[in-house]
Symmetry: D2
Subunit: 488 residues, 4 copies
């Protein structure tokens, strides 16, 4: 959700982030529940967190860099956030001085009163909209694409807040799951294709919204249903829950990578257990790409469910051939190349006594740049593995995501640069196989991918983007017109 | 410059602040010079400081709560602020979480490019303008009245930045001394009456602006002249200096309290040495209100020059009967009542060996609430003073300031509550006298106050406000219409 | 290693800690290697870390509360620790102001030069020795039992450092693994029974010592052998390695709980893979206490290897029925009761979709107070488990440890308070079984426990303490003499 | 009080510090009173502060780098220090990591119970004593000479605490004013010559001790008398006050520089008002070294009283020709040469409007290195002064202090390097004069200096050190034996 500055993004090395949102309304301790909910969503964004609450009169805000536990576990922190409605956000952020002002939820005093919004996703025409707004005198305080929504709401000519919000959403493209607070209540909504996830729960009289069901579990809320693609759910302070579908019906395209990696395995995504989906992917892998081996070894922790599935399907025993330290985060969202490499060493260690002399099947959820995979394979060889067969529980990741997921620019994606066999050589494995795209769809409950009308957003695998990418097109158009060189 | 929130200010207990501004353009180390300049202006605002610089391409910002030295003395801090143009601001701020976003200079990305502004003063129709702007969709990020200027510039329909700024300034009332930065250069300006001070200096090829001449001294700049009331001085990156007077000619009304207390004694204000002015006030006091005594004792440090004047005029010896600790700030700008009282004890100590058995004339610059004066008199009595005669180097402060000076609400001003004799009883002095308003004018070089057309803004003494006070009138009007009680 | 203050320990609620030590000598970047080594030992102590280095002339020290990564990952931190010899320590500490001075390694300027020591273990006559030393004028600066060693060395009458150290060690009882630095070199040693672990490795010309082999792996050092019980290994700056056995031969008694829980599964402890040992314990459990079930579910992460062993032996599938958050530490070493309870909720979540309607076998490494076990069983039931059978990969923990392990006082150990069946009722499981003590010995490679001469220290299970417990006896003796009540 | 490390002090560039001590016993809020007392002594040491309290059972400690107000103004800080007895210390410290452990009061658990000591002064045989103690097995934790006292007390063979303390003090040479706390009460004492100051006051039932009387004033205590040279005053918890004189009678030699500069002007030192003494020095200067001039200008703030005296004696008007910023500390105790120079610019500004074209007499308290004096003279010339005559309110400072005062090594003292006329040239003044040593003695109430038996320690002016300087002699002896060069 970080809008890259129009004049600085041309090198394309700007990272975008995956986020998590949570909201609670008509709750006794809305902020405390939100803090706990965000903690359960911590894996979706570890760099910063924020909560805004409302007590019927005023809005209160607190935010900070770092983990939820660091910023929101103390009673003092929660005491700063009184009220019966609260919304929160965790994010993976770019570093540097501008960090604090981009921490969500964002807040503005509009003519109609306070307006707060927490956003997971990415608006693919935010740059274009921002230029239009600024040319009319709008003043942006952050570089976040989310602020575009606020300005569109502020300048909408509709009289009611819900109509102003719908008016704003009609103008934006891309992926969004929003939790909005106004002095009248909470509004949760998802983009027309439902690319990013959002679920609804019930906790006594309170209504809660969250990116994943695990956040409902931690606060003791009951799962009600997901917010539907294109739906706005409006909850007022009398507990009335209204559902609006202002954008008409369109086929949904939830992000399939939530099943592959983003969501926690104990979440239910799109009506299906993520753990079960990952095990089923592992089973598909075992069916599609079997190999003679002594051990099935997961790359911990994200490869574990698929490895269990692979082992159960193949009959090769599941064993912990790599031990993961508890004292580091996940590879995918480390800030710099340097840190990513060195963190492999601090993060994983070979279980040499187990691995020595064995033929092993390594199971990982995905391959992005391939550098980690290479190091893992080398670590297995150094520990004495006789053979190392690499199996990946997703198809080759060959395309960047423009919907709120932190991916490197395309040229750094291993699968965008080479075919399977060169990839195998690059990571130095004895064999390499990815689950097929249809195998992936089978694992999540379909016969196959519906090519005409795919059931998921799988653009990172297929390049089939379900929305226009206006900012990207504008940029490419502008670059195409540059007479000689790309400007520095 | 803090705009009090329209719905929270009705109790009138909101403090407003005095600030200091500094700017340097075409300077080799613009930010380093600005940091030093702000340090020399530290007495004008001790709660927060900020600097924005420009290197021809980008704007850079750094700000922090606390003193300039704490935030801007390290080479790391200055290295964050590259470029040949910089502007800075020190302020006295309201406390609390909203502190950081109100720290100036404020910055915005406008359609025409970056725009930074540092403001000393107070816009007396800021609330009214803000409501209009918000109703058209403007989103405010701070509670500062300065942000009104930015929004007015952003939404002006004039094509050039200077015209947009003039367009904005035409709409605002009150007192302002501004240092503005745009990608074309620096603009410094003062309100049509020149209520708040602003001077211009030369440092090699660089042009500098500052609230007081001491800031020129510290950076080694030569004093050129003051920015005239109603003048805009525009400096581009070729060093061209233009002067504009878009508002026509009006009599100037600089704040006479700069002579009384705000400015440092080594500054030249309105063409006159502040030290000399204060000594002259003391001489006037001695002429108007002589008394038989053994010692003239200043309330340190602000009462010292007037006490020297009083002693020289009266022939009574000047002596340090009160010793001030170096380790606290000035009384006037402590944040809470509690702190103000307890700080008297930590701040001043009687020089008992000197005072014991003596008749003393105490000289202070002003009396605001009177609580400090009472404690000082009591301290002298406890130290054995035989008689304590209190002489004040300004007329009674009986009216609030709405031009950027932190004053209590009127009902807390001692001189608004009682006549001289009850004041004397309140502070428990043997005698009490204030310099007369004409005596004050004589001390600063006039025969007397020109009642028809006063030479200074002296509203805090006379209640004669030189500009409309739109927000105040609106608020009073609204309150007058409330049927029964004032709203909470 | 925290010596409880003789006048405050009578309530017995003082926690003692498990620690980790690391040393590197004749290494190019001794401190950097030590930081990395400590990071790999982070699970042995998460509250504080310290490193001391030596460059041939001076000793340098740095220490801090919190994780190794927080205190020793920056190049600035490592730059403060120059030299070719370094030793470090991680610890679990008591909270409060005295924290900093107890962080190890401890350092003292002795008449013979600098002396630094890092200690894992607990000296069971430290209180008695300390009283003697203080009565002779020794001044203690910490409450650490380790400081006793330093004072004994300082006051020894032997001429050489090695003899002074041996002289000191002859006087102490209990468990210790030490890494000592002097201006002549590094000395590593283990108590005569080898209760606490210590291994030696080779990294080019450098010699390294560590509590566990994983710390050798992370720095790329080759495992050489363990330091033997009662052995002192002395390494000088020419690389000469001497081995001394000044205490004669005695049967070794390494801590069997290292296999059960403390060591990382990828470590080799006492010549055996910890992972393999844990799997074998799980297999023993399956043989000793089988049950009809649908799933084998580990309590993550420490129950995982035993669960794999149980599953492989029993044929019941291994599944992740509990998902553990990455964003919290291990239960066992949280500072307060309150935090321990609330952390269960933030730490584990049921994989409801998997568990619902199933008969599950829960595998955990041990039961201490039983409160966590209860919550886990309840969580499984709330998630719809049909039956919950609890299997524990260690015998009942019924006795406190006095050898450097943080255990609650005995009266809080569930197994000290009740038999198996009441324990089952307490944790609300359908069945409960612990591995037998002989089963445990079989899993680690013996036919059975040698009752006459046990192969391990297993006092926490058997109450059979292999050393005198002088401080404890003194305290009990003193308490026994109190005429009426125990003093407050 | 910082004991310079025997192997690092040979370059002589180690700074020593001036400190302040405060103690309160039988006081309701002992720690709160101590915090306030230390605040009044802040000018004696600004780098660190510490307080230890005792509640009848336990000792409590808090200390921190920076000012008293930063570390001890909050209610939380005071709440950490319960009890009816407390002692505190402010110090000027050496920088770096060893800072914290050297902050006083120091504390040790002795066999006889807790022992805390706050020390102002310097023990001139501390290095020698320390070597002896270490050779017997004592372990030092700080580099402070104060720790020597503790070890001497700990190893004394006398049975009572007061005898052990006396035994220890018999062994030490130099200057000390101590406040000691034991579980039996408070002991305050001064070295036999009374070089460093210490006074006693009464505050209801409480007894207080402080380095200066201003600390009594701030807590509302009544001045009783000074602690006499060589006296130990012992206060128990029943309020009994005993006076001991174990060292016999010797002529007292209080530090005359307390009158010149160290003490606050509102303090009574050695029975005389410091303000009156400084004024009298100024009068002596005017008598001894008159000059035709227009203005008497003090170098603020320490030169002000002498300037008032000079002006009153000479009839030349006293004026503020230099304005001092409130936002910096005193020159004398800035940590490095670099900071000292740059701070002149940030600290003082010429009152140009006053000074221009005038002949001025500058009055300063002393000249140390002369670099500041030079800058001040230059500043006056740049501001247009016609003539600048420099008068110094002390004799030339030509010798280092070894009694707890931070002085540069002798070779950096301007008066050690040259006669008066070259000094005048160095600082570029039109004339330069110092008060004579006899004039100084006259100003503080004596006819002249008693050469046979001086009434004060004036070693910094005369080189006449009243005690042996054992460490210095040892070092010089050792250096004299070095065959060629001084070791690095």
């Amino acid at each position: 959700m970080n809008l890259t500055h129009p004049f600085r993004d041309e090198d394309g090395d700007k990272l975008r982030e995956e986020c998590g949102v949570f909201g609670a309304v008509n709750a006794a301790d809305a902020a405390a529940a939100t803090a706990l909910g965000l903690h359960a969503l911590q894996h979706r964004g570890q760099e910063a967190a924020g909560i805004i609450s409302f007590d019927g009169g005023e809005f209160y805000q607190r935010r900070g860099l770092g983990h939820v536990a660091e910023n929101f576990s103390s009673s003092e922190a929660i005491a700063e956030l009184p009220g019966f409605m609260a919304a929160g956000h965790v994010r993976y952020s770019t570093t540097g001085g501008s960090g604090m002002r981009n921490i969500q939820p964002l807040y503005a005093d509009l003519a109609s009163g306070g307006f707060a919004v927490a956003h997971n996703g990415n608006i693919s025409n935010a740059g274009t909209l921002r230029q239009e707004l600024v040319s009319k005198g709008a003043i942006f305080q952050s570089t976040s694409d989310t602020e575009v929504i606020i300005h569109l709401v502020a300048t909408s000519r509709y009289p009611t807040m819900i109509d102003r919000l719908i008016d704003a959403l009609r103008l934006i493209e891309g992926a969004y799951a929003l939790v909005v607070m106004t002095p009248e209540g909470m509004i949760a909504c998802r983009d027309p294709l439902g690319i990013r996830p959002l679920v609804m729960g019930k906790m006594g009289d309170a209504t809660v919204f969250a990116s994943e069901t695990v956040a409902l579990d931690i606060v003791g809320a009951e799962f009600v249903r997901q917010v539907e693609p294109g739906e706005l759910v409006k909850v007022d302070f009398d507990g009335n829950v209204d559902s609006l579908h202002p954008f008409g019906a369109r086929g949904s395209r939830p992000c399939i990578f939530e099943h592959v990696y983003f969501s926690r395995p104990d979440s239910i995504f799109d009506g299906r257990s993520v753990y079960a989906a990952r095990k089923a992917i592992g089973e598909q892998l075992a069916i599609e790409s079997p190999v003679e081996a002594d051990l099935v070894v997961p790359v911990p922790d994200s490869g574990v469910p698929a490895a269990i599935g692979y082992a159960q399907q193949s009959g090769v025993p599941f064993e912990l051939g790599i031990i993961r330290s508890h004292y580091v985060g996940r590879t995918f969202i480390q800030p710099s190349d340097g840190a990513r490499h060195s963190s492999v060493k601090r993060k994983h260690n070979a279980n040499r006594a187990l691995v020595e002399g064995k033929r092993i099947v390594l199971i990982d959820d995905s391959i992005v740049r391939g550098t980690t995979s290479l190091k893992i394979v080398e670590m297995m060889r150094e520990a004495g593995a006789a053979e190392v067969h690499f199996r990946v529980a997703s198809p080759p990741t060959a395309h960047s995501c423009f919907y709120g997921v932190d991916t490197p620019e395309r040229s750094k994606l291993l699968a965008a640069r080479m075919e399977i066999e060169p990839m195998r050589e690059f990571i130095k494995a004895d064999s390499l196989a990815f689950v097929s795209i249809d195998g992936l769809y089978r694992a999540v409950g379909h016969d196959a991918r519906n090519t005409a009308c795919p059931q998921f957003c799988d653009a990172c695998f297929t390049g089939d983007y379900p929305t226009p990418l206006t900012d990207l097109a504008t940029r490419e158009h502008r670059e195409a017109q540059l007479p000689f060189d790309k400007v520095a």
